[in-house]
């Protein structure tokens, strides 16, 4: 399934992200500039789908991957190393409806503020004009070359 699915994905997404199906849940880039991005995805059976619907974690993953695409492309265009990003916070996240297999959704992200090494984005998922999910996400961007960040602060 994953091999066939890759054929339907924008090559630029495959170039700019390390994610691959079935975890990758972006198919086409609809819009991308220095502060915002929008990607389209057709919901398919896989790890993001349970009982025929894309569950909340899948929607979060789609919005997070769209953010990764935005930040990665911005870094490449600026000629700076692409940073590994980690989702570290969700704020005011609301889920209005879970999309079903076969529906086409768009993931939208817009940077609210960057303050190294943190980035705060406004995010949304839509199916056509219908708002499925919305909120804010916070990312920690680890500079390339640094050792992996500890999962918890060390005791002082």
């Amino acid at each position: 399934m994953s091999g066939g699915h890759v054929k339907n994905i924008d090559r630029s997404i495959l170039h700019d992200l390390d994610h691959r199906p079935p975890i990758l849940c972006l198919d086409q880039i609809l819009h991308n500039d220095s502060t915002s991005a929008r990607c389209r995805h057709t919901v398919v059976a896989g790890p993001h789908v349970h009982d025929g619907v894309m569950w909340e974690a899948g929607l979060i993953e789609g919005m997070a991957q769209t953010t990764a695409l935005l930040k990665g492309r911005a870094a490449r265009e600026a000629g700076i190393p692409v940073q590994v990003g980690m989702l570290v916070g969700l704020k005011n996240l609301a889920f209005h409806r879970q999309p079903t297999v076969g529906e086409v959704v768009t993931f939208e992200v817009e940077i609210i503020r960057s303050l190294e090494p943190m980035t705060l984005v406004k995010c949304a998922t839509r199916c056509g004009d219908e708002l499925l999910a919305e909120g804010e996400m916070k990312f920690f961007l680890q500079p390339m070359g640094d050792p992996p960040a500890a999962l918890s602060d060390s005791a002082e």
Partner: protein, 84 residues
């Protein structure tokens, strides 16, 4: 805004956004040790300050902030600069 109004606005943000106790809000209070903020809260704090006070803080201004008093000082300086 007068400095007092600025301090009140900042204190309001600390209470509403970060659930700080009003009694803990003293200029010498350390953001981490006394008020419970961590490194993940920094960007949220800046966004809240900028929105409430209609100013833009640059990274140099926020770097090195350790106490509530540092926030009062940096924000007042920024607003004074913007007004002049």
């Amino acid at each position: 805004m007068t400095p007092s109004e600025i301090y009140l606005t900042i204190d309001g943000i600390m209470i509403e956004e970060f659930e700080c106790e009003a009694g803990d809000l003293k200029p010498e209070a350390k953001l981490g040790e006394d008020l419970g903020l961590d490194s993940l809260d920094g960007v949220d704090l800046v966004v809240a300050l900028e929105k409430a006070l209609k100013c833009r803080l640059n990274e140099d201004e926020v770097r090195g902030i350790q106490t509530l008093g540092d926030i009062y000082e940096r924000v007042c300086a920024r607003l004074q600069e913007a007004a002049s």
